[in-house]
Amino acid sequence: MKILICLSNVPDTTTKVKFIDGNSSLDKTGIQWIINPWDELALTRALELKENSGASVEKVSVITVGANNADPTIRKALAIGADNAFRVNAEPMDDYFVAAQIAEVVEKENYDIILCGIESSDYNGSAVGGMLSELLGYPSVSAVSQLNIEGGDVLITREIDGGKEVVTVSAPMVAIVQKGIAKEPRIAAMRGIMMAKSKPLTVIEPVQVDAMTEFVNYELPQTKAACKMVDPDNVKELVDLLRNEAKVI
């Protein structure tokens, strides 16, 4: 089985976001780029499956749509343990654009399981996995919290409101994964970092695709009013505030 993980190159969670050009684009100076946390968990799971000989995974690849500022992030994925990587050399315009570019590559390369994180921590889009599966005509399962391989089938636990459901789907398929898919993200060991230098990173030119949406501009939220502190000996005041001022109870 070959597994492909779709990675999103995102700013680190602690980044203080700022916008430039009349608030029409993100100020990228000083940003530390990381692998989208859900994608990192997906990659960890794929590597766990590869190490578990019963699952018969022979190759774990990663793909990103991004400019060359995404290369260090891709090398990190290789250092963590992916076998090879693809980068479609284009800025990720929107979910559809990204999905269409990845679909192009998958059609040539033939993957059995494609993993996508359920959301990216930058633009909080959740559509790439679903769009990709529709473009490829593959079945998809979302909100996946556990994934195992049994023979040619993929055994999945997905979260439903108030519980879980265990389902099987046969490959090729797309799994859109969330928390629980791996306990903690794996990090790169020194050995991995050294080996990553020699693993293949193929840069592919994008195909012509029109994005269907456009991010026009951004706004920062209004600065929150300072927190109203209530004396611990006077909790009644808090109840009053919540009832009469905030009107939430």
Binding site: P11, P37, G130, I160, V216, N217, V235
Partner: protein
């Protein structure tokens, strides 16, 4: 031209979420000068379906086949796409819950419709069609234009209120054509916990962190949740340690919730936790460290020992209820 809204049901019943969606769709339809069609998939009684009319649905389509008994993303997206085509709908509204996230993208590709996920407000502009969503895990808002003829929106949970607006709400069964090989998801078993208020549905959430010191101290917290009719939640270290179930973990890699009131007890306020709850309407924190970062994100706060404050708060709530 109409607006189509997909209203999910749970065991044949709608939730507040469904009515929020219809209300939203109603307002959008008003803006566009058109009508609202609600789509339901599954076994839902006519009585229940007609409830959607109270919130603004002009027409209610219902689809109930063998193949729709189980959520298969391809089947559901095929059904929704067929409904859209039949109605000639131009704006499609789905919730940004797990089902919406699973299905909406597939529908978007089928219909070549631009999709914006996690929208928080009514469109700010109709031409070009522009909507607003949160980005960078709540640190900013983005205004996004949908360039295609057909437009799709998934609405962020708990971001629009329920508006009653009685409309005709005529229920009609929709016949759809589902290719047999489309159903690929085989369900092995389903596990549902009943009774407790679901975290993602709850309007009030009481949450505990490592500052609670031990799982044995959760009693007062659960009591507070009970008197408030709230769901319980926790931070990541608490679920990692096994003090509380994983389903209660709220945060960037856990559940992202947006209740009306979020009470954080003994939670320091790490960025990933806040990313999961920052969309809450009102946030309260109880922590014995006055410098805890969480107080920068809260509306109200108490600096004190949780184990003393919680029982006092329970009593104060009970008192104010009886008044």
């Amino acid at each position: 031209m109409s607006v189509l809204v997909y209203t999910e049901n749970w065991d044949g019943k709608f939730k507040k979420l469904s009515f929020e969606l219809v209300s939203y769709a109603g307002k959008v339809a008003e803006m566009l000068g058109t009508k609202v069609t609600a789509l339901s998939i599954g076994n839902v009684s006519n009585d229940e379906l007609s409830k959607l009319g109270t919130y603004g649905a002009d027409k209610i389509l219902t689809v109930n086949n063998e193949q729709t008994a189980v959520l298969d993303n391809q089947v559901y997206s095929s059904v929704i796409a067929q409904a859209v085509e039949k109605e000639g709908a131009k704006v499609i509204i789905i919730s940004n819950n797990n089902t919406g996230k699973a299905v909406a993208p597939r529908v978007a590709v089928r219909l070549k419709a631009g999709l914006v996920g996690g929208v928080t407000k009514l469109p700010s502009n109709l031409d070009p069609f522009t909507v607003t969503k949160k980005v960078f895990s709540g640190k900013a808002f983005a205004n996004v234009t949908i360039k295609t003829d057909c437009k799709m929106i998934t609405l962020a949970q708990n971001s629009f209120e329920v508006i009653e607006k009685k409309k005709e709400g005529a229920v009609e069964t929709l016949n759809v054509n589902i290719e047999s090989e489309l159903l690929k998801t085989n369900v092995k078993n389903t596990e549902k916990q009943s009774g407790k208020i679901l975290l993602t549905d709850a309007e009030i959430v009481v949450s505990g962190g490592r500052g609670m010191k031990s799982p044995d101290n959760w009693g007062p917290l659960e009591e507070l949740a009970e008197v408030l009719g709230a769901a319980t939640a926790c931070s990541r270290p608490v679920s990692d340690e096994g003090w509380r179930p994983h389903s209660e973990h709220t945060g960037q890699t856990g559940k992202i919730i947006a209740p009306n009131l979020y009470i954080a007890v003994g939670i320091s306020g790490a960025i990933q936790h806040l990313a999961g709850v920052s969309s809450s309407k009102c946030i309260v924190a109880i922590n014995n460290d006055k410098d805890a970062p969480i107080f920068e994100a809260t509306d109200y706060g108490i600096v004190g020992d949780a184990l003393k404050v919680l029982p006092a708060l329970v009593n104060a709530v009970k008192e104010s209820k009886s008044q």
